[in-house]
Amino acid sequence: MTPLMSLRDLRVEFDTRHGRVTALSSISLDVRPGETLGIVGESGCGKSITALAMMGLVPNPPGHVTDGRIEFNGEDITNAPAKRLRQLRGGDIAMIFQEPMTSLNPVFTVGDQIAESILLHQNISRANAEMQVVELLDTVGIPEPEARSKSYPHQLSGGMRQRVMIAMAISCRPKLLIADEPTTALDVTVQAQIFDLMRDIQAKFGVAIVLITHDMGAIAEMTDRVAVMYAGRIIEQGDSDKILDNPLHPYTRGLIGCIPVLGREAASTDRLPPLAEIPGVVPPLHLLGEGCAFAERCALADATCRSMRPPLEDKKGHPVACHHPGEVLAPGAEVSV
């Protein structure tokens, strides 16, 4: 099956005060029709830039796609003309954002904004579009959709606004929905509702979802496959259940150790302390050296790690970029020191 969205050796660079830094390098990803792919990592690891790159929205300036290819449905859209990209955005590829508080235009009613996205892609009358708006608001579970469509964003709660964003995103039946931390700004009960809604939408319309998150819990709950990113590279990739069961990269294990899960099985907890922390922070992109970007924070790091960057290759079942995949420290030593 041809992948719906595929990134091949994508490299994105940004012009900054420190000169040109590489925000993404050698990113290769496939999204298959109808599946959910998770992209997980800390702030600043390149998740959001990856999402924007899929839509041809890398901010330029200062960003540049300097190498690699972006393909949608087999079509190379890396250097597609602006007009073609505008057709795809909102038409075949849609996106929802992290902050429902700020991702809606405050001066227009939500109905107007959804209608606008419909009218941009479909040649129908305004009245017709408004009818579709009410249907969409109903589909995403907004009560009294007709009255709500005349509300301004500030009159709605965060969860409602995120539903409105989802309604806008699915207004033209996209094949791919990119969700950039869709629940980070919402409280947990609303989070669960939004995930439920996304699953419903996927079942109903067969849309593929790219879920960008820093929350391994969301990965476990939502995704079929996952790519773990660190400092602009994919460091581990594979089926979500395999990676959750058997994380090979110490960073991935650190992320899993960070989730406070009630009643987690003992088998996975004896490997790490109950609530692990990953010491240190993501290194600034302009200070990345020759070695593994995670070496500074890794308890397993040795001289090789500091001098040679591990390639992403199949080891012990799935692709991982680590010189010591799956190795565990001797009992007594802990990852988080």
Binding site: R86, G91, A94, V107, T139, P143, E144, L197, D200
Partner: protein
């Protein structure tokens, strides 16, 4: 319809647009409402006053420099030629305000065009347009306007044009600053993600959100433009063919030591108008600025 749990229902609110909210905020501001009433009264006088105080403003009604009230029927006295000041005041109001409004309009049009282009596209376009703006900004405004007016022979049109040309830089800088701020906001990226192009993003997404400070600045520019016109007329660069308050001051200034009223009365009219416009402008500023709102 949806199988998901429904979002918690909110009390049904009436849809209040940000503009309507600002308006109700404005109405709670006493000085601003006072300014608006004052402005309405002045405009009403200028537009309809001639139905009460009829007369040809050019006609000589009595001896020159008759004091106000010195003779029945000449309420505000006469000027240096013996023309009735009240009828002149009513006749001169409309051109004064027309110059103010059209100069402010031109300021806003140029300012938004330059500022939006510079702020939205950035890069070399921004550099180029901002250097141009600075070039206009460092020229002494009144002198530059005088040069322009003398260059094209004074008329209401050229005066408005000259005032507009010298006044747009602050509006352009304000627009640019707003665009720089708003273009980074998430709803602009969201608009791009639904396939909106540059034109749509500039006009439909960023500009409506940048409008409040621009409305305030445009309102205040009207007052500045009226003063500007008075200044030009005072210096003898007004449109000699149409009476304006500035022209009245300019023509009578040589007789100031003998008679204060031909200068002071149009001066007070200008003062009241600019005062009213400023009150309205400040009121709009407060109404649009959520940080100043008292809830």
């Amino acid at each position: 319809m949806s199988q998901t749990s429904t979002a918690t229902s909110q009390p049904a609110l009436e849809a209040i647009s940000p503009m309507r909210e600002a308006w109700s905020q404005f109405l709670r501001n006493r000085p601003a409402v006072f300014g608006l009433i004052l402005l309405t009264v002045i405009v009403a006088f200028v537009l309809y006053g001639r139905y009460i105080f009829d007369g040809d403003p050019y006609r000589i009604v009595w001896g020159p420099l008759t004091a106000p009230g010195a003779r029945e029927g000449i309420y505000l006295g006469t000027d240096f030629l013996g023309r009735d000041i009240l009828t002149n005041l009513l006749k001169g109001g409309a051109p004064t305000m027309a110059v103010g409004v059209s100069a402010a309009l031109l300021t806003v049009v140029i300012g938004i065009a330059v500022g939006a282009t510079a702020g939205y596209f950035g890069g070399w376009m921004d550099d180029l347009l901002m250097r141009l703006t600075e070039f206009f900004q460092v020229l002494p405004a009144l002198l530059f306007a005088m040069v322009l007016v003398t260059l094209f022979s004074p008329s209401l049109f050229t005066i408005s044009f000259a005032i507009g040309i010298v006044s747009w830089p602050p509006t352009a800088r304000l627009t640019r600053a707003e665009f720089l701020r708003i273009r980074e906001l998430e709803y602009v990226t969201a608009a791009r993600s639904i396939g909106a192009g540059n034109g749509r993003i500039i006009w439909r997404v960023i500009l409506p959100n940048a409008l409040p400070p621009l409305i305030v600045s445009a309102t205040l520019t009207i007052g500045v433009a009226i003063l500007f016109e008075a200044g030009l007329s005072f210096l003898g660069l007004g449109d000699p063919n149409s009476i304006s308050w500035g022209l009245m001051i300019g023509q009578n200034r040589n007789f100031l030591l003998e008679a204060w009223w031909p200068v002071a009365i149009p001066g007070i009219a200008i003062f009241l108008t600019v005062f009213a416009v400023s009150l309205v402008g400040d009121g709009l500023n407060d109404a649009f600025n959520p940080k100043l709102r008292s809830r």
